[in-house]
């Protein structure tokens, strides 16, 4: 008996515990190949980022970045960015546009998503499809219309700036697809929850605010994040619509550092690009708690 026990114990050291079948030789080769591809891709992604970080701190770089030169740690490119350019304005503008876009998008999409998910009305099927189709036309094609639109609005509301126009374009552009996504998410929440709330005495608004919105919060957070990022990524529209250097967003502002001979400073461009990640990461962290999903579990049987 004792001998048997010992044997069992000895074996359990190298027991095969994985639920997957053991790898064959071909499988091992395949796995090695997969790792190789992943490493190559990681390199392709990480190398430029590495260059940006290194060069923005490299005091040995002059106005044009030269690869393969020496390295001496310095913050002078950052100093240039903050003192010689409108960098802080650009950051402020971009964050303003981003937050305004996010707020407006979330507000509008909340209503449209709820309506499309819960109410029956004439033309429900077609209206969304139509908006989606129209959005296939690039935003850029409407550029002359935007100028006219801006002029009309300024006639009525004098403080309506070009930046606000940009917010309107960004928010408007995202409505159809975001509505579609939010509607899909809401459809997965049982309408019996709404009905229970109605019987319990809540109005449509209260039902949305107290029952549905808390449940779709992860999706709203993602939509907010996407909307917030738009002005960080878009170069085209702000470069056309905004015409004063201090009104620029980060993308257009930083571009002046590599496009214009008079203001050329590539290491400062790298430094500014690197700092751009900060507001996005901050915003992401603020929303992180909201992104926790799985709240719907447990409402329906078990």
């Amino acid at each position: 008996m004792a001998i048997l026990n010992r044997e069992v114990k000895k074996k359990s050291g190298d027991l095969y515990l994985s639920d997957k079948p053991p790898l064959t030789t071909a499988g091992k080769v395949g796995l090695g190949f997969t790792y190789f591809i992943l490493i190559v891709f990681a390199f392709i992604v990480l190398w430029p980022i590495y260059q940006i970080v290194v060069n923005s701190f490299n005091g040995a770089q002059a106005r044009n970045i030269i690869l393969g030169g020496g390295f001496s740690f310095s913050l002078r490119h950052f100093e240039h960015l903050f003192q010689e350019t409108n960098y802080l304005h650009w950051v402020k503008n971009t964050i303003f546009i981003g937050i305004a876009t996010a707020i407006i998008t979330v507000l509008i999409v909340s209503f449209t998503g709820y309506a499309f998910s819960r109410f029956r009305f004439k033309g429900k099927k077609f209206s969304l499809l139509l908006i989606m189709l129209i959005q296939v036309i690039p935003t850029f094609a409407g550029i002359t219309a935007y100028f006219t639109l801006h002029q009309i609005i300024v006639g009525v509301v004098p403080f309506f700036s070009r930046q606000m126009l940009l917010v309107m374009i960004y928010a408007g552009g995202g409505i159809a697809s975001n509505t579609f996504i939010l509607k899909g998410y809401m459809d997965s929440i049982s309408p019996e929850l709404d009905e229970a709330a109605h019987i319990d005495g809540s109005t449509n608004m209260q039902t949305y605010r107290l029952i549905i919105m808390p449940l779709v919060r992860p999706m709203l957070a993602i939509i907010a994040l996407w909307s917030f990022i738009i002005p960080f990524l878009d170069y085209m529209l702000p470069s056309i619509l905004l015409n004063r250097n201090q009104d620029y967003t980060l993308a257009t502002g930083l571009f002046t550092l590599i496009s214009d001979q008079r203001t050329m400073n590539q290491p400062a461009f790298a430094a500014g690009g690197m700092l751009t990640a900060l507001p996005i990461v901050t915003f992401f962290m603020l929303l992180q708690n909201q992104l926790v999903s799985g709240l719907s579990a447990g409402s329906v049987k078990g």
Binding site: R120, H198, I199, I211, L215, L295, G298, S299, K301, G302
Partner: protein
């Protein structure tokens, strides 16, 4: 509160036909009314019309003397328990139960008091601060009940509330639901497809099929005097045995000629106009008599035993007649039967349900 329906009908948008129509029903104050029927017959539709979740296409719905056709659900003074419970997943048990009172701007102390009271009745005190996802199915069911009862509604609606529970828990909750109904002193309308649930819980059963009321009566009415063949087949387990045949001078003769039953005086009277015409005869499994208690001259059928299901106190015999008709009989558990044995069984002549061969309406 008394609930009355007059010619109530519902047609869904985009459907060709009415889902339910010509529903005339009076549910007395404080009654426990069960709406019973096979899946898809429109039970939920009817209940949701009472709740105000579905619009009323035609007819009138009264709560007491008040016409409520166009009254919002929240103004009907009702509570509803859904099949899926529909608990608010992001709220604690306490907040779930308190929600309706909060919506009605009840005072904080009143809310607290009522929630604790409901929790006590439903044995939920320990779980008040858990989320619905962290409690068992039976407890969720109780939370759903608690949510419905805190407001002390006039009409209590339940749509298959027990169908997600396991058998044992279901039996237990049946009793608790009836107790709760008595305690709340409300009118309860309960929807189910399970005839056993209906039989055990109801004061009144309304049996629906094909969008019409087939019969409306007490459980004993439906069991002992089913209004038509559908009711007879739907109520009772095992299902009633049915023979098709004709009436020939005071005697029922099945189509194959294998079964001959002499009708008693009352049944002869009832089928006087049906001589030579097709009828159905229904007989419940427990109304067959064992061989030993047969008296001379009584009708008997001889059948071969196919399957025996022994439940201890009684046993169900699935037997076959020589013409291959299958019958189910319930015999006392102490009698001895063996598979493939042939036995003679008597038929209690006072236990026959006679139905017209075409309209399937009850004759006797």
């Amino acid at each position: 509160m008394k609930v009355s329906m007059i010619n109530l009908g519902k047609k869904y948008e985009g459907r060709e036909n009415f889902t339910i129509r010509d529903i005339n029903l009076e549910i007395e104050d404080r009654a426990f009314c069960v709406i019973l029927g096979p899946s898809g017959c429109g039970k939920s539709t009817l209940l949701r019309m009472v709740a105000g979740l579905n619009s009323i296409t035609e007819g009138e719905l009264y709560f007491g003397d008040r016409l409520v056709n166009k009254v919002e659900p929240k103004d009907r003074d009702i509570a509803m328990v859904f099949q899926s419970y529909a608990l608010y997943p992001h709220m604690t048990v306490y907040d779930n139960i308190a929600f309706s009172l909060k919506m009605r701007k009840e005072r904080k102390q009143v809310i607290h008091h009522r929630v604790l009271e409901a929790a006590k009745v439903l044995q939920l005190e320990e779980y008040l601060y858990s989320k619905p996802s962290d409690i068992s199915g039976g407890q969720r069911q109780r939370v759903a009940l608690g949510r419905a009862m805190v407001r002390k509604p006039q009409v209590f609606l339940m749509d298959e509330p027990l169908s997600n529970l396991d058998a044992k828990l279901r039996e237990q909750m049946r009793i608790e639901l009836v107790r709760l109904h008595k305690r709340l002193e409300t009118t309860s309308i309960y929807v189910t497809h399970d005839q056993a649930e209906a039989m055990t819980m109801a004061d009144r059963i309304v049996l629906l099929d094909q969008g019409n009321i087939q019969q409306n009566g007490t459980p004993s009415d439906l069991y002992n005097r089913p209004a038509n063949l559908f009711v007879a087949k739907f109520i009772g387990s095992p299902t009633i045995n049915v023979f098709r045949g004709t009436i020939q001078t005071g005697q029922f003769v099945s189509d194959s000629g294998q079964v001959r039953i002499r009708l008693n005086d009352r049944d002869q009277e009832a089928t006087r106009n049906h001589d030579g015409k097709a009828v159905y005869v229904g007989i419940r499994s427990e109304r067959f008599l064992p061989e030993t208690s047969l008296r001379d001259g009584e009708d008997a059928i001889t059948a071969t035993i196919d399957v025996i299901e022994n439940l201890g106190k009684e046993q169900s015999l699935v037997v076959k007649l020589p013409d291959n008709t299958e019958l189910v009989m319930t015999m006392p558990g102490h009698l001895h039967f063996g598979v493939d044995e042939a036995h003679a069984f008597g038929i209690d002549p006072h236990a026959l349900h006679l139905f017209d061969g075409e309209t399937e309406v009850r004759l006797n």
